[in-house]
């Protein structure tokens, strides 16, 4: 299990391949991947870039707690969580969650659990820089189970 907070751009597919090659010896029949990417719009406005702030130490601790809770709930072999901080541009990867398990059910369910828990408990905050030169903090995350 690994959690990483990246200050620079990362390539999610390379992260998955590197982690799998280094850490997972076999036994997995299912791998699920979630990648969150920065949009160039939000709430009806064009977004030029974003600053992602975090609480160093607590962020990693909460991400580890989330992965541990997923491991208690589902039979998974391994999980990788990577999250970006700092200045982010449209189309950049913000978050990667990969889960390996013997069967697809646990891989899908654990992955969904991790991203939804991250969205509500991992201390990250986004500040959007709009194309109008205004800047604003994102006030809250939507509930992923009810949002479109």
């Amino acid at each position: 299990m690994a959690v990483k907070v990246c200050t620079g751009a990362f390539e999610p597919w390379q992260e998955i391949q590197d982690y799998q090659n280094a850490q997972i010896s076999g036994g997995f029949g299912a791998t699920t991947v979630f990648i969150g990417t920065m949009r160039d719009f939000n709430d009806g406005d064009d977004v030029k870039s974003m600053m992602l702030e975090h609480y160093p130490g607590m962020t990693e601790k909460q991400l580890q707690n989330i992965v541990y809770a997923a491991r208690q709930q589902w039979s998974i072999i391994d999980a990788l969580v990577v999250h970006r901080v700092g200045t982010i541009m449209p189309n950049d990867a913000i978050v990667l969650i990969a889960v390996w398990s013997a069967h697809r059910g646990a891989a899908f369910d654990a992955n969904r659990y991790i991203i939804e828990a991250l969205k509500t408990t991992a201390p990250f905050w986004k500040k959007e820089q709009l194309t109008t030169k205004q800047a604003r903090w994102v006030s809250k995350n939507t509930d992923g189970y009810t949002a479109g």
């Binding site: 609480y55 130490g57 601790k61 408990t121 991992a122």
Partner: protein
């Protein structure tokens, strides 16, 4: 006894500082810590709080050398 306080994101910007220190000699809750450092500012209604990097309720009692943090709802992912 001393408590270190940290503020993040929009709350840090609104207060105009990222840290405070509070000295105390009696039992204090997390909420009390806020008012010791921000006597003129009500505790924001949606504020989240942590002690030593674990989420806590606002009525949790703090200990010497704790790091208390206050921040708005998280928006990562």
């Amino acid at each position: 006894m001393t408590i270190k306080i940290r503020y993040f994101a929009s709350l840090r910007e609104r207060l105009g500082r990222s840290e405070d220190t509070v000295d105390f000699y009696e039992a204090l809750t997390v909420s009390d810590v806020w008012y010791r450092a921000n006597a003129d500012q009500p505790l924001p209604v949606n504020v989240l709080a942590s002690v030593n990097m674990d989420y806590v309720a606002l009525d949790s009692v703090v200990q010497d050398d704790d790091e208390v943090a206050f921040f708005p709802p998280v928006t990562g992912g």
